[in-house]
Symmetry: none
Subunit: 199 residues, 4 copies
């Protein structure tokens, strides 16, 4: 049946399913989301899901991975040009907020519902955070070398940075207020760099 160009990367239906999965899972959470609804949202039959994914579980994981990958490549794109640490933190945070905003639903899902993932997936998610942390720590260490930041425990500092990202992200995704994302990022990084205490 498969019409269209042969060798066209990923099967159409698979991608449709993944995208439908983002919507439905985000809206309903893992448990309330029904495979049938995802199939319907993707415009395919229920059985078709099982051609592409061996289980609801697996579909969920694949969907998560796809989303994380999008996130990572978005972040990486931000980091090409070599700028100072302050500037870099600012554009990373802006990119983070931009992504979170655009994938609000997905973000809500990650921050609220899940847990079917028998450990394995959990570990994977934690790993993602870990990876991010490692990257931030490296960045901070380098900043200390260049004198852009003063000597602090990089592990503690990275937690502060990550907390900032997450906190602003949640507020954006859940909060009722509208923010100017770029200004928010700039302000927050400014606070982070200069500290709260008056000079």
């Amino acid at each position: 049946m498969r019409e269209g160009l042969p060798g066209r990367g990923d099967s159409d239906k698979r991608m449709q399913l993944l995208e439908a999965a983002v919507d439905v899972f985000a809206l309903e959470g893992f448990h309330r989301a029904k495979v049938e609804d995802i199939a319907a949202a993707a415009g395919v039959g229920k059985g078709t899901v099982y051609h592409y994914f061996s289980s609801k579980q697996e579909l969920f994981q694949a969907m998560l991975e796809m989303s994380f990958n999008k996130y990572r490549s978005r972040m990486r794109a931000q980091l090409r040009d070599p700028v100072g640490l302050h500037q870099r933190l600012e554009s990373m945070l802006a990119a983070h907020l931009e992504f979170v905003w655009q994938h609000r639903k997905m973000a809500q899902l990650l921050l609220t519902d899940n847990r079917p993932l028998p450990e394995k997936m959990y570990r994977w998610m934690w790993q993602q955070r870990r990876r991010m942390m490692v990257y931030v720590i490296r960045m901070l260490k380098q900043g200390m070398l260049t004198g852009e930041i003063r000597p602090v425990d990089p592990r503690v500092a990275s937690l502060v940075v990550l907390g900032l990202f997450t906190s602003l992200g949640s507020q954006l995704a859940f909060g009722p207020e509208k923010f100017n994302r770029d200004k928010l990022a700039a302000d927050a990084v400014q606070v982070l760099m200069a500290g709260l205490a008056g000079k």
Copy 2:
């Protein structure tokens, strides 16, 4: 059987159930937790649950409220004696970490599983965060008046503060590392107050 002081305000069984609920929900998440298991963990019959709570849902909510209330009173206790802002943030964070550590399971639950809560509970949880934020903002504003902190957008700053709390909390609850909680709190607040940028 009835041990302990007679006439103890809240029904024994109800409290047993709430405590069993914390354990089981934290371990399994809302959906996988079986009412029967909670009953068993509390050492009562399945039907007894429905004497005290009209549904699994309600039991879950009651359990959350109990935990939040414990958290709030713990926090408030920390805030009796009048100290400077730096000191206050430090002891709040320390208390937060202490609580999170002691209620690790509960924390994991809140941060990972949930979503059955048809809006109502959601709103309630968001409200809790809101309330905390309001409190922090007030604290920061006062700090600006006393000159303890420099003039910054208090909303942005409060997000940084909350992010710090959450971030350290997660790391503590989920991370494999052991931390000296008091030192962690002190260091983090130090970073927060003085900022990353070298003087």
Copy 3:
């Protein structure tokens, strides 16, 4: 505890329960009626029910019997004075309608819900009908002897009579219309006696 005159026929509570049972069973039907509700309606504790009746089942049966007995004695009262058959049928029907009207709820119950009664009760109810039929047949036979009615198969005729009673009863109990019960009885018996066919 039992205060009041000793030897006072039937225990107070028992009677209260039976009366509450009529209301609740009639309103809810056997299955939906909850023992607890009946107890509450009688103003006693749930456990008390089981002092007087060994089961919901038995309570139901006792309640039915009480009602039937009331019915029978009401009917019998009607039959003291010796009058002609036409007159007797008329006053029986009027008494029937009167009773049905006053015990509307009970009637609805009998005509709509029931069936928990594992045979035993069923047989009993059928027996009541039977007994009634036997009585009617005897009456009809006598009427033939006295020449008040013409020779017909008494069994068939009794079915017609009983059908009349039931049919008018249902209409009264369920129908939205208000009837003048005595006139209705008179008219119906008139039709029954004289037949539909014009002379």
Copy 4:
């Protein structure tokens, strides 16, 4: 597996379920009937029931409607040829008895168990009776015009007629005796038309 003519309008399984429902509901009553048993009787899985009916309730209603419809079309078939009123009543009653006999179980159900039907269904059943009554009244009025019956209150008379139908029906369905249905119908209508009173 699928035997019988292909393309048969109503789904096979649905019909199997309806027929199994008649048997099981009639045997057990609404409440005691287990969905699982109906499924088993229909030779399908438990879940299948919920493909065709959204609830036990709905299955019950659908089953009732099917039966009533059968009854109505049976009755109507009886009424094609134009005959006198006496004759018509007789064949209607005979058809009624025939149907009741063949659907004895169903009849028992209707006359004994039910009441889950939150009003809606009740109204519908009452409506059926109403409709029948209206039809009978029209018939009687016409009979008065043609002089086949004498002038009587048609509403009262219709109650007598319906009572006759119901009464004989019950006797047939529940009673232990065997009847010659046609003779019974003829005799009863004869009584009805000529009345009990001797000429």
